[in-house]
């Protein structure tokens, strides 16, 4: 049976690679793309050979098995509620799950109550270098983990990402959740406390472009995470995900996107890193389709996972306001 999947909004550009993965997967068909921006929606519908719908409601009326939500952060909750009401079996929601823990909790609770499977799009869980790190850590290769130093640097994305009414914040809400999720998954422990220094020293606007978080975990492991949009346009790539995991018997350094060839192209006027590492979105989307089919997919992040990662970002903003560490 081919699964009918709808994509609700291309506001977040990750929708593009999820659509590519859906298109490539013989088990699914993209029934349609709904987007409040007709130009963007029609262009994407044409590119992926599917139908454009002006509203989520019209697409949801087609009797979908599953939906992929890539709207602006603040609109995730309404899209989840509409999808649940339309009777979909499973939802893959772009990260961050929401902009407040209250919204995220409402989404998780609603899906649980109605028997709808909610997943959060954390593709880093499908990174082979990360999975190898996880395997090494869990085998005890570096002894007992004491600390994780993380970065998720990026280039300032612009658009609605810097409109706090739609995004819920800046670099901190955008770039905390991936690594917060990886740490939590790796350690099997919840974050207990967060301290954050937040700044706007790159773009000097009313949104944060700099975030240095310090996170405590149950069991005493501590972590830091740099979420800054600190990569200029002259930088050879968009950013990074790195982890330095320190244990009592050794250290593992992960640079998730280090598998690059370096290109010096006279036309570009700058060096560029072209990543040849395995993509992560195909694995994420394949697991989501298994979830839609009712299979167990232990690696796919749940709504609760998305909520716990968001809680770290929300705590970071609280900490910066309070000028001290806060409980998560």
């Amino acid at each position: 049976m081919t699964l009918k999947i709808g994509i609700l909004s291309f506001a977040h550009m990750h929708a593009y690679s999820y659509a590519l993965a859906l298109k490539a997967n013989p088990g699914a068909v993209i029934t349609g793309i709904a987007d409040p921006d007709p130009e963007r929606g029609q262009k994407m519908a044409a590119e992926f050979g599917t139908t454009y719908y002006a509203t989520d409601a019209e697409l949801l009326a087609e009797g979908l098995d599953g939906v992929v939500i890539c709207s602006e952060n603040v609109r995730h909750r309404a899209a989840v509620e509409a999808s649940v009401a339309a009777g979909v079996k499973a939802i893959l929601c772009e990260k961050p799950l929401a902009t407040t823990v209250e919204d995220a909790r409402a989404m998780v609770d609603l899906c649980a109550a109605k028997g709808v499977k909610l997943a959060t799009a954390f593709p880093c869980r499908y990174s082979p270098p990360f999975l190898r790190l996880k395997e090494q850590v869990q085998s005890g290769a570096i002894g007992k983990v004491v600390s994780i130093r993380g970065t998720n640097h990026g280039t300032m994305p612009g658009g609605w990402f810097t409109d706090k009414a739609l995004s819920g914040g800046g670099a901190v809400i955008d770039h905390t959740v991936h690594v917060a999720d990886l740490n939590r998954w790796l350690l099997g422990a919840e974050a207990t406390d967060v301290y954050a220094e937040i700044g706007n020293g790159f773009y000097h606007q009313d949104w944060d472009d700099t975030g240095f978080l310090t996170i405590g975990y149950e069991g005493g492991v501590f972590a830091t995470l740099d979420t800054s949009w600190s990569r200029p346009s002259s930088y050879p790539t968009w950013g990074d995900v790195t982890l330095q995991v320190v244990g009592t018997e050794g250290v593992i350094d992960l640079d998730m996107f280090a598998q690059n060839v370096v290109v010096y192209d006279e036309r570009a006027g700058k060096a560029a890193w072209h990543n040849w590492g395995s993509g992560t979105d195909a694995g994420l989307v394949a697991d989501f389709l298994r979830l839609v089919s009712g299979e167990d997919v232990p690696n796919l992040a749940t709504g609760e996972d998305g909520l716990q990662a968001l809680a770290v970002a929300v705590a970071a903003y609280k900490s910066a306001d309070a000028g001290q560490a806060v409980a998560v």
């Binding site: 700044g199 240095f212 405590g216 501590f222 600190s230 002259s234 009592t248």
Partner: protein, 336 residues
């Protein structure tokens, strides 16, 4: 004139300094003091000067009449040697950190001021070519206004060829924060200005790691609004490594000691030799940072100018490091 130098301490830094003093122009090593003659004797013989043992400091001063006292003893003993050298009117070069406690730092500043003696602290990272270049680039506007800075200094727990490895005792050394990444605190202050508050987590004060490993992740906020992250590790089995990243509103500077090493020597495993690749970064002798700091001190003495790393600089760096230890112990933000 040639400045006569008395070296106090023959541990890791004392040995490095002894070697560099023989290269510094305008200075000569005339005395070496260590706990025992077994330690000071071979160094004194190698550099053709007089050996002294604990506690013959007064004899050393009387017999060898040094102009400069170079203090390379373990951190908690800095104060007593600074006080005695200052009282004797000697120019003082003192290894970092300035002291183990703020009261000791206060006493050191008071002794230097009261006796009005020249003083320089061994914050040698300012003299490392990559750090000097990075600061010059920042000063020249290469990254615009600095916003987010990351520096890291990662090594194994320091070894010492005497039985008593005081580095392993955080009550004496202050662990990786006070002993090692104080270098970064000093350089960050030097390059980016005053620090207003610190927050950190680390292994300091946790009995299960005491003496076996140390690791700290530190966040600093500057008066300028910039933020810095400092990694300090005595948990890295893979050799010494430093990294620098300075991101600003006009660009970014990166440096990694591993990837910038022009030479990597890889030897086959034979007998009891383990087969490892060791990166090396050689420079001409005149650009050795330990030579440069001692030569800069002598040059300042000759010129009658203030040496480039003052007792106040060393005081502020120690204050940051001790605030970081306080933050690790209390889980609280410490405002400076």
């Amino acid at each position: 004139m040639t400045y006569r130098v008395a070296l106090i301490g023959t541990g890791n830094m004392g040995k490095v300094h002894a070697q560099q003093w023989s290269a510094v122009s305008g200075a000569e090593l005339v005395a070496v003091e260590a706990c025992t003659y077994e330690e000071s004797g071979p160094i004194a013989k190698m550099y053709n000067c007089e050996a002294f043992a604990f506690d013959e400091f007064d004899d050393l001063i009387r017999k060898t009449s040094p102009d400069i006292v170079d203090i390379c003893v373990p951190t908690p003993s800095h104060r007593q040697y600074v006080e005695r050298a200052a009282a004797a009117g000697k120019a003082i070069f003192c290894e970092k950190p300035l002291a183990r406690t703020m009261p000791d730092c206060d006493a050191i500043v008071a002794a230097v001021e009261r006796n009005n003696v020249p003083f320089m602290a061994g914050h040698v990272v300012r003299f490392f070519p990559e750090y000097a270049r990075a600061k010059a680039l920042v000063d020249g506007g290469a990254v615009g206004k600095p916003a987010a800075i990351r520096v890291a200094r990662m090594a194994a727990m320091p070894t010492l060829d005497t039985e008593d490895n005081w580095y392993r005792d955080p009550d004496r050394s202050g662990g990786v924060v006070l002993d090692m990444i104080i270098h970064d605190f000093d350089w960050l202050r030097f390059a980016f200005g005053p620090v207003t508050r610190v927050y950190a987590k680390g292994l300091y004060g946790k009995p299960e790691y005491r003496g076996s490993m140390d690791y700290a992740l530190v966040t600093l906020r500057f008066e300028s609004g910039a933020v810095a992250h400092v990694t300090g590790s005595w948990a890295h089995p893979g050799g010494f490594q430093t990294t620098i990243e300075i991101a600003g509103d006009g660009g970014i500077i990166e440096h990694n000691s591993n990837t910038s090493a022009p030479l990597t020597v890889a030897l086959k495993a034979t007998g009891n030799r383990v087969g490892v690749a060791v990166p090396e970064s050689p420079t001409i002798a005149e650009e050795n940072p330990y030579f440069c700091e001692l030569q800069a001190f002598v040059n300042a003495l000759k010129a009658g100018t203030t040496p480039p790393v003052t007792v106040y600089d060393a005081y502020e760096a120690t204050k940051i490091a001790l605030a970081v230890l306080e933050s690790i112990e209390t889980s609280k933000v410490v405002t400076l």
